[in-house]
Amino acid sequence: MKIKFTKCDIILILIIVVVSVLSIVYMSFDYFKDNKLYVKIYKEDILFYQHELLDDFTETVYVEGEVYYNLVVIDKGRVYVKDANCPDKICKRHIPISRQGQLIVCIPNKVIITIESNNNNDNNDVDAITK
């Protein structure tokens, strides 16, 4: 058997490259907006922790699950997982996130750490309160 790229192989590869690059460009538009950023930690789709991401704000959040834990460090605008006891340690090896739309996922512990620009407290379930 010979190693040979057929025409369809190259078309396939080009389509994948174009679609991926276009979606990366589309998603990175938000990076350059000067929004207020919020760190949000979701545990099994429930908002566990939320705080504005400031340059002089440092905090350590301990996210405990049934079996595993994650130690999330918010350090002067950067967020990373300092320690975890999940089996694959993918969250621990992830590079620190600092911009909108980036996220760290810990699949064994079902934890998602993300940076978003909207505050969940602004549009909460209660529309108005009358007295």
Binding site: M1, F5, C8, I16, V17, I24, P87, D88, I107
Partner: protein, 171 residues
């Protein structure tokens, strides 16, 4: 497809399962710098693709299932079983269909790239369902870009492995 008797086939399938297991364990213990989580070389797919080319769909599914189950027992990460079994079966079926019905259009490299991309898409899909959070789809473009490189590499390696294997079996 290679035609051999049943006993030899069982022996070859078990050897292929073992090789893919060893490659997976080696890959698991390697610490790559992570841009995107779960981005791996997928070197064991060389063996899966070779099995598909040599023995067909049914035997490949057996190898994939065995590899996933034994790897889970060895590594000790039970949650990864759902991810690896689902994406492994999906990518095997896609590779089989493309290799059978679009054989004149795609070479083994194209088949491998399609398998790699199916693997990534189905794994992301499982993660979205398991964590019930749509944000994880953000990773898909980067994973697709990496799957081109790994797919081409795996495809070329599988061609070499399959050529050697068929030569070895026929003698």
């Amino acid at each position: 497809m290679i035609k051999i008797n049943k006993t030899r086939k069982i022996i070859f399938l078990s050897i292929l399962t073992t090789i893919s297991l060893i490659i997976s364990i080696f890959e698991n213990s390697m610490s790559l710098p992570i841009i995107s989580p779960g981005a791996k070389l997928g070197l064991s797919n060389i063996i899966i693709l070779t099995t598909l080319l040599a023995f067909g769909l049914k035997d490949t599914l057996i190898v994939v299932m065995l590899k996933c189950i034994i790897l889970t027992i060895i590594v000790g990460n039970p949650i990864s079983l759902i991810y690896s079994v689902f994406s492994g079966i999906m990518s095997t079926i896609v590779m089989y269909l493309v290799n059978k019905y679009f054989n004149n259009l795609f070479s083994e490299i194209g088949v491998s790239v399609l398998g790699a991309i199916t693997h990534n898409i189905s794994q992301t899909f499982v993660a979205v369902i398991m964590l019930s959070n749509v944000r994880i789809f953000v990773y898909l473009p980067i994973l697709s870009l990496t799957s081109i490189f790994t797919g081409v590499f795996v495809g070329i390696s599988a061609i070499f492995t399959f050529t050697t294997l068929s030569k070895y079996i026929n003698h």
